[in-house]
């Protein structure tokens, strides 16, 4: 049977000063109409380059497709020139692409109506009027309310989720046969992500379009894809149907990916198993298994053999793996890179007193004034945080979850006194630090620290690694001599798993994971007791995520640290936290220990968040009932008068819309702010 697109033995190279980087090394795959196929792998695995090679969107030079065939509807796309008429007809016409960042995909100075009609007029040879009709039709298709009037709006007037819908509408504008979604939902919140993915799935089914889903998120794959290609270092290492891959993974890398991510249904004792080491340098690659250096199953024999090709897994139809050995989940591991166990003991919060509190936040309010007009009159307040109270006990991990814009980062920054509080009190170690000025605040700063989201942005690019870690010690003058500080830097490097020989390096010479380790080393250098982790692992690849989570847990045990752990990834928060608070639009809507929150969520918002999270298990996903909450988080400028969630809540009554619910305590300290409970 002829496939819609069939790629055979594709090779893409990039010429670099140090040699030739083979980013795609003999990749073959196919797609049939109506299929959703996922390409999974970490950054640098070549999954995006493979897709862009297919439509010749590789910058050339330095990139070059050196070998292979790309048969799209029977024609070899590589026989067309990069900018040829034929290829342009295919690209944008028959193949639509949805990129990761909706804000940079859309032109900010053009109305979305013009952007939509542009390609329609070009590819479908429509006149202006027809094109406008088509644009309205497309916006309806991606479920944008009131499409006629929205055509005149500019991209910045839409929310992130809406923008991504528009990008999808653009990709669909010429009825493509193939849709490539490159990390299309990675930048979005969980509920929006679920909405968008469901939408894309519906569209694909309706129009019999094939879709390639490029992602690093295994859970999404489990829910939406029919087949999976796992990529590593520019090669496909495993291929099969989603059920088979998840039930019976055959490549050590696939297994590694699965072991590295926490799931919503895991036992709390499960330790995440990161993939050890780094991707081998692909410049001037050798003919051998590239995963060998990180593989826990590798034997001496693997080193002597050439690159393994994809081999059919016996007894399973359409399941291929590229491994010299026959590995299953039960195969004995050759070498352990790490300990496998983790212990978890729940503490009894009823016995704790005020003296055990490290942080006590009482009715915290943070408002940002909005000025307008010539004389800059204050017209309103953005209530970023509106009456949040919680306490954090020594040695625990307090999780704070919520979608973007819910105020969780503002809480963190205010607790660290990087923002001023408009109202309420922040009590740190028994002292009220709410109104302290910079000078009075400094002695407290020694005891509190922060780990940031972006390991690239949180390190001064001009500072040496050793200086970065030493700086807080010098600033706070913790009473160590230069020699002692030097020694301590070395110790800290070892503690976070960095080679002290790297002290003279600058941040850009480290990988993402190493940088985050450096950030952690800096954060613990003055022996603080309290650390805020603001999305500390969200920018990292899954295997590195696992390494950093394990490191944070290890340090907590060794040094008795307390974490305020902020994240939007509910599975990770569940894995790491003792107690969890859920925030929505500046308020806390639910608060409980991790077990009761995840097994018995009370607030409709918590429920919908949990339902939106896909689980990395296709069988479970098929049977799971879920109701994706519709709509989006309202702007804090237009907060609903009653319960903030009432505009999206399926159970909302008249009371909810007019009266604000208060946080009430139920059994076992489980607090919830809802009229219906």
């Amino acid at each position: 049977m002829e496939h819609l697109i069939e790629v055979r033995n594709l090779h893409t190279e990039f010429k670099q000063s140090k040699g030739i980087l083979k980013a795609v090394n003999g990749v073959s795959y196919y797609l049939d109409p109506g299929e959703i196929v996922a390409f999974v792998g970490e950054s640098g695995s070549g999954k995006s380059v493979t897709q862009y090679s297919g439509v010749q969107l590789i910058a050339s030079p330095p990139g070059k497709i050196t070998e292979g065939e790309i048969l799209f509807e029977g024609k070899n796309l590589l026989s067309y020139g990069q900018n040829s008429e034929e290829l342009r007809k295919v690209r944008g016409g028959k193949i639509g692409i949805v990129f990761q960042e909706p804000m940079s995909t859309l032109n900010p100075v053009m109305t979305i109506g013009n952007q939509l009609t542009e390609s329609v007029m070009l590819h479908l040879k429509m006149d202006k009027k027809q094109a406008m009709e088509r644009a309205v039709e497309l916006l309806k298709k991606v479920r944008i309310p009131d499409p006629e009037s929205r055509l005149k709006a500019y991209p910045h007037q839409f929310s992130g989720g809406m923008r991504q819908r528009i990008v999808i509408a653009m990709a669909l504008s010429c009825n493509p046969k193939l849709l490539i979604a490159d990390e299309a939902t990675t930048a979005l919140d969980v509920t929006t992500q679920a909405q968008i993915l469901d939408l894309m799935q519906d569209i694909v089914k309706e129009s019999n379009t094939a879709m390639v889903m490029v992602t690093h998120n295994l859970s999404i794959v489990a829910r939406y894809a029919q087949r999976v290609y796992v990529m590593y270092a520019g090669e496909i290492v495993e291929h099969g149907t989603t059920e088979e891959i998840f039930k019976n993974p055959r490549h050590p890398y696939t297994m590694g990916l699965m072991n590295a991510v926490p799931g919503l249904n895991d036992p709390k004792e499960r330790k995440l198993i990161p993939i050890h080491g780094f991707v081998t340098n692909l410049v001037d690659r050798k003919d051998e298994c590239t995963f060998r250096n990180r593989c826990p199953y590798a034997t001496a024999e693997c080193a002597e053999r050439a690159t393994p090709g994809l081999v059919k897994v016996p007894g399973e139809d359409g399941h291929f793996a590229a491994c010299h050995r026959t590995i299953t989940r039960d195969t004995k591991v050759e070498k352990h890179f790490d300990t496998m166990e983790r212990s978890y003991t729940a503490r009894d919060y009823s016995k704790l007193t005020d003296a055990d509190k490290i942080l006590d936040v009482q009715d915290l309010k943070v408002y940002f004034p909005v000025y307008k007009g010539l004389i800059r009159k204050k017209v309103a307040d953005v209530k970023a945080v509106d009456g949040v109270s919680f306490e954090v006990y020594k040695g625990e991990t307090f999780g704070l979850v919520g979608e973007s814009g819910c105020g969780k980062s503002t809480v963190a920054r205010t607790v660290l006194r990087l923002n001023d509080a408009t109202g309420g009190r922040i009590i740190f170690n028994g002292d009220d630090i709410t109104g302290l000025d910079d000078a009075k605040m400094r002695p407290y700063r020694r005891n509190m620290s922060m780990i940031f989201q972006d390991p690239y942005g949180s390190l001064d690019p001009r500072q040496r690694a050793g200086d970065i870690v030493m700086e807080p010690m010098k600033n706070f003058d913790i009473g160590l001599s230069q020699e002692q500080m030097d020694k301590r830097v070395d110790e800290l490097f070892e503690l976070v798993g960095l080679d002290p020989a790297y002290r003279e390096r600058v941040p850009h010479e480290f990988s993402g994971g190493q940088r985050q380790r450096l950030v952690i080393a800096r954060a613990i250098s003055t022996n603080p007791s309290f650390i805020v982790c603001d999305e500390a692992i969200s920018a990292l690849d899954v295997s590195i995520q696992a390494q950093v989570i394990n490191l944070l847990e290890e340090l907590q045990q060794k040094l008795g640290l307390t974490y305020l752990f902020i994240a939007h990834d509910l599975s990770v928060v569940r894995h790491i936290s003792d107690r969890v608070a859920v925030m929505y639009l500046g308020q806390m809507v639910e608060f409980a220990d991790w077990n009761s929150l995840y097994s018995n969520p009370l607030h409709p918002y918590t429920k919908s968040l949990l339902e939106a999270v896909p689980v990395p298990d296709p069988v479970l996903e098929k049977t799971r009932e879920r109701q994706i909450v519709q709509g989006e988080v309202p702007s804090p400028m237009q907060r609903p008068p009653g319960c903030a969630f009432s505009t999206r809540c399926p159970h909302a009554t008249e009371k909810c819309r007019t009266e604000m619910p208060v946080l009430r305590e139920g059994a076992d300290g489980h607090k919830v702010a809802c009229h219906m409970i």
């Binding site: 910079d438 020694r446 942005g457 001064d460 690019p461 600033n475």
Partner: protein, 292 residues
Amino acid sequence: MKKENKILTPAAERRKQFLDAFFATVPVRVGFSIIAVMVFCAVLAPVVAPYGPNDQDLSNMLQKMSFAHPFGTDPLGRDLLSRIIYGARASLSVGLVSTIIAGSIGITLGLLAGNMGKWVDAVIMRIMDAMMSIPVVILALFLGSILGKGLGNIMLCIGIVMMPGYARMTRGQVLTVKQLDYVTAGKIGGATQIKNALKHILPNCIAPNLVLATMNLGTAILTEAGLSYLGMGINPPTASWGAMVSDGYRYLSDYPHVAIIPGIFVILTVWAFNVCGDALRDATDPRLRGTR
């Protein structure tokens, strides 16, 4: 390549890394050599120059290039090569010193404005705006009439005129860099506002200023010529490249070399400083180091 057996101290290692990165490309080596030769000749002008800069020889005026006069002579029969060598003293020092004055004051003001905000920002930036609204030559003439003639004053005057550009550029950079996580991290790590500004913000605001400075260098040399032409600058017969260009243009149709040769030196200097400025920016930025 010879194998390095020496173990370098960290500081020496950094110096070596920096020099390797700086001299990585051929244009930089050429540009740097040009600057070095020019500075060498300017300093040792009396030894290097074949004639005195003001030695007139009216029987040999407007000569073409020859062995006796490699670049020919000007309308008063002065040797152009000698005048260019002596002129380098005035031109290079005007270019460098006025750029340094403009850069140091401008960057300081921009750093203050960006970091302090509020009324400090408003006052500094409104003054800069006011200065920018006046045409360069007119402002320079005005300042020159207050300060008086002379090489030192002309440097100061050009420096002040070019200062607002640096202040604006730096302030904009500060506002961006201030928001970055590593500045927040500095604050959490106990750095005072001043320390944060000097250690984390300032170094990360320098790069665009370096580019601006290399561009301004040429402008400064030519502005000096303009001012000299208007009678504000260096008194004739003291040689400066700018003055030589503006004196020579009258003979452009018949004796083009009189204006073109000093012009070529201005272009060469500007190019050399441009290349070196770019290389300096790349070599001081760890992210760009070794990308070329």
